[in-house]
Symmetry: C2
């Protein structure tokens, strides 16, 4: 277990932990559908887009592709899905706007209030596989009060590669033991812990929809387990 009194920075997984990507992508799809007269299963589309997320990053992790930012991985996945579903008749501008739906994800109801309390005591930084522009635009729209937008792109390594965690601590001028990862995903917290980070699990039981089966609870001895960001603030004395 980490010595929590040493922790100076809270670093956050973003997709699923800070924002509700699935409802937001469904909303964006439905908006596109209404404006273009496209009728498809947008829930299925959102899940299919997200299903291509890990495989697309894996090609970068294993060296099959050079460093590629998430916006560009999302775009390649989107082009594939536009053919598969199919969705036709979109202009380049419309495809680009839809790809940037990931810049317009909505926070969970407790997110902004929780971060605002946590920020009084800690440096708050993203530690996300999202690229900087995506995270900056998301924060600006949703009012997420980050002190620093960090993660895979500045580190040029996708989580759970250790460089993503270690370089984020280095950018913050801190030892890994002075950083804590906040995440709704067991595997992310295990990887952070192996790099020396403190760990806080916050359950997001509807991230993957009503039938979610994974990450419903903490499966390891994390330093903090909280119901939401307000509970996390309470448990960290903020």
């Amino acid at each position: 277990m980490a010595d929590l009194s040493q922790v100076r920075a809270l670093t956050f997984d973003v997709f699923g932990t800070v924002v509700d990507w699935r409802s937001s992508i469904i909303r964006e799809g439905q908006e596109l559908g209404r404006s273009k007269g496209i009728e498809i299963d947008w829930q299925g589309f959102a899940d299919a887009w997200r299903d291509l997320y890990q495989p697309s990053m894996e090609k970068v992790r294993n060296g099959e592709m050079p460093w590629t930012k998430l916006d560009d991985l999302h775009r390649a996945s989107l082009e594939r899905l536009l053919k598969e579903f199919p969705i036709e008749g979109l202009s380049e501008e419309e495809i680009d706007h839809f790809n940037r739906a990931w810049h317009r994800l909505d926070p969970w109801p407790d997110t902004v209030a929780g971060l605002t309390r946590l920020r009084r005591k800690y440096v708050l930084a993203t530690l996300s596989n999202g690229n900087v522009a995506l995270l900056v635009n998301m924060a600006k729209r949703a009012g997420l009060p980050w002190d620093a937008v960090l993660g895979a792109e500045p580190a040029r390594h996708y989580k759970p590669q250790p460089e993503a965690y270690l370089m984020t601590a280095d950018f913050l001028g801190l030892k890994p033991s002075q950083c804590m990862l906040v995440a709704a995903h067991n595997h992310d917290l295990v990887a952070a812990s192996q790099c020396g980070y403190g760990t806080a699990f916050v359950a997001r039981p509807t991230e993957y929809g009503p039938g979610q089966t994974r990450d419903l609870k903490a499966e390891h001895a994390f330093d903090v387990v909280a119901k939401d960001f307000l509970d996390l603030a309470h448990k960290l004395g903020c």
Copy 2:
């Protein structure tokens, strides 16, 4: 001249432009002097420390040294000056604290109010040779409302190398023509302009003290010339 209607992000030089490094380092030196009974010319010390700034980065720029963050360059310069002045009897902890005086620089009087207005319309990012931790700690202390903390360290190139400007625009997901550099230094703005950035000169006529002779005015046809950040906000329609 840049097309100002295209500009989405304002990127800021920090030392001298956003914060008054000289008065702040003098203040920190005087505090150290009082607590340790050291009587030296702290104005001269501040100027000497800053005089080593460009030569120390030049060794990284020309490849004589590998990438080294500014905190570490500041520390090497400080150790040299402690011997030269001399200043004796400081513990490792005291030296480290004094080195982090650069994390505790005070903003100019118009800085926070100006940034707050500018942020309504633009993404605000640092484009500084300061390292991320230095800039994050400075922002937290001074209340600087950055959307992103970028610059030399994420780009691994010190200004005025073009990579510093080009990679900052790339991190923001923007073309250089969609970015504007705000700086109190003619040479920085010229380098940014050569990379395709828009340019805004804000004079800081006492940055180098009462006898300042350089950068008293814009020496090139920059896109905007403003008296301070409030005047800049006015001129940019914020």
